[in-house]
């Protein structure tokens, strides 16, 4: 597919129809990046308490409008901040995220604290252990100041939740947030916290990141431990961060990545130094332009912005290389759904038997379908997966270093357009939303979502970089190079 050269929209002022976003608010520390906040706390320029108070103030003021929060204990958040400030005052060794307020999708278990997983069934569930990812963030000094809303049991890509309520997109509250890490996307974009964990089984980190104008990393399968994270589909589930910049994302990933005896699928492959690699030269790197599949059905306004982002890479000295995509990628979207429904049904089979009425109708129906999958069919799909990832890596990454694609092929839909419950005949529509994300889950490959502008309706638009297994560092390097040349990541929604 020949690339249609577009004007570099990212280097121009926003179109006249776009709402005027806030670029910076020097007076409010919540508008710092995570990296800036960590540096300011470490230097003593601002305290963790001041940072936390700024975030709590925004949570209190904005949550009625955007519905990002699943749970908030302000006294606990401030106690964490005071402990961080006390440790710094004592001269204790500080982690890379010391004193920085984060908040996470409400499916990461912390011992003794409710983790409702966006559901009624688990509204009082208090786990007896803490997720490995949270333990590692704790060790890096980060605060965990709130639980964030999510799709019921993480089973959905639009952000709708019929059980506990649907978060709103901070760029336009009539539009969907993307899911399933809906609250994570909303909270970080609304400057309620400096970063958040999401989880990605079919696009659930990258889609809310794209819809909310954030950076989202779906790491390689096995790169980050899922221990203590609510399972959806064990063959596909991944853990990763949503942040406002690539550097911020790398900071969190550096803290959480690596092997864990409690999650047997984690890899022994060493974790690279993501931060050290950020500023390395990108000249000569081969950025793949897919000749098929990833631009199927792409909206013209999305194509324009994504192609403009490719031009930025070209201007930075990258080589843009058209690359043929294996035909088999066309079925990966549906095969990912099959694995998710089947493994999800296995996880939920007991509650489906005893508490079916407590599920939302969408979740219940999709889980019921998974119960019907013949075991032999499921095993055949997993076998095909291994064949297809070999083929994909050989054909694509034998020619290029990364693959550059639109993240969503459509502008961010409205809540009404994307409401499965209210609209019959939406299976194809939902497949279209995850068209460019689910292949990465099926193949186990890393994918980085990077914002690249706004469509004429004022909603964010993003591209995706896909890489070889365990090549998160290269994706960060290229994403950071893009953000050094553009300023989309500095825009904030006006929620006043």
């Amino acid at each position: 597919m020949p690339i249609r050269r577009a004007s570099p929209a990212c280097l121009k002022p926003l179109p006249a129809k776009t709402p005027d976003p806030v670029t910076k608010s020097a007076a409010d520390p919540a508008f710092m990046t995570l990296a800036e906040a960590a540096a300011a706390i470490a230097a003593g320029d601002v305290s963790s308490r001041e940072m936390t108070e700024a975030c709590l103030k925004r949570m209190t003021a904005l949550n009625p409008k955007v519905k990002a929060l699943a749970g908030l204990d302000e006294a606990d958040a401030l106690a964490q901040a005071d402990a961080a400030d006390a440790a710094r005052a004592k001269g204790d060794a500080l982690g890379a995220l010391h004193g920085v307020p984060l908040a996470h999708k409400d499916m990461y278990y912390r011992r003794g604290r409710v983790s409702a997983c966006g559901s009624a069934i688990r509204k009082d569930f208090r786990p007896d252990h803490t997720a490995t990812a949270l333990q590692r963030l704790d060790a890096a000094g980060a605060l965990d100041i709130a639980r964030l809303n999510m799709v019921e049991f993480a089973f959905g890509v639009t952000g709708h939740n019929d059980v506990v309520g649907t978060p709103r997109n901070p760029w336009n509250t009539d539009h969907m947030t993307g899911g399933s890490s809906s609250g994570s996307g909303v909270a970080v974009a609304s400057r309620m916290c400096f970063g958040a964990l999401g989880s990605d089984t079919g696009g659930s980190i990258r889609l809310p990141a794209a819809c909310c104008g954030l950076v989202g990393m779906k790491p390689t399968y096995g790169r980050v431990s899922r221990h203590g994270a609510m399972p959806l589909a064990h063959s596909l589930d991944t853990v990763g961060p949503l942040t406002r910049t690539v550097r911020d994302n790398a900071l969190i990933m550096q803290a959480i990545a690596g092997q864990d005896a409690n999650d047997p699928v984690t890899a022994g492959t060493p974790v690279g130094d993501y931060l050290a690699g950020l500023d390395k030269d990108v000249r000569g790197l081969r950025v793949g332009l897919p000749e098929s599949f990833f631009y199927d059905g792409v909206a013209p306004e999305v194509r324009t912005l994504v192609e403009a982002s490719l031009k930025v890479f070209e201007d930075r000295g990258c080589e843009i290389v058209p690359v043929k995509i294996p035909d088999a990628v066309a079925v990966m979207n549906r095969l990912t759904n099959l694995i998710t429904a089947t493994e999800g049904a296995a996880v939920h089979s007991r509650w489906m038997e005893t508490r079916a009425a407590d599920y939302g109708p969408q979740t219940r129906a999709r889980l019921a379908i998974g119960l019907f999958t013949p075991a032999s069919l499921y095993l055949r799909v997993l076998t095909l997966r291994k064949q297809l990832v070999r083929e994909f890596c050989g054909q694509v990454f034998g020619k290029v270093d990364v693959l550059h694609t639109p993240l969503m092929v459509m502008p961010v839909p409205t809540l009404a357009e994307s409401n499965m419950s209210a609209n019959p005949g939406f299976a194809d529509y939902l497949l279209k939303i995850g068209h460019n994300t689910r292949p990465g889950n099926f193949l186990g490959l890393p994918g980085l979502n990077v914002p690249c502008g706004f469509t004429p309706d004022g909603l964010p638009c993003s591209f995706q970089l896909m890489g070889r297994p365990f090549d998160e560092g290269l994706l960060y390097r290229l994403g950071h190079a893009y953000q050094q040349a553009t300023d989309w990541h500095e825009k904030a929604p006006d929620l006043s």
Partner: protein, 73 residues
């Protein structure tokens, strides 16, 4: 057809859902005979999987990804 907006007890909805997985639709199903349809679906799955190795261990998938990682990093 969207599974969520149909009756979950509706056999046709389930079969339509399977139909989305192209190439895997079981043949010879009858909506008037759900048990028979289930047997046929299982048989179709077995046929589809014939001659393929048992290879569904997710930890094995991680090991495969490690072999496909960049070698010059």
């Amino acid at each position: 057809m969207t599974p969520s907006d149909t009756n979950t007890g509706d056999m046709s909805a389930l079969l339509d859902w399977l139909d989305q997985f192209q190439g895997f639709r079981p043949e010879d199903v009858s909506l008037s005979d759900p048990a028979g349809a289930s047997r046929n679906a299982a048989r179709a799955g077995r046929d589809a999987a014939r001659d393929l190795p048992f290879d569904a261990d997710p930890t094995g998938f991680t090991r495969l990804l490690e072999t496909l990682a960049r070698k010059d990093a």
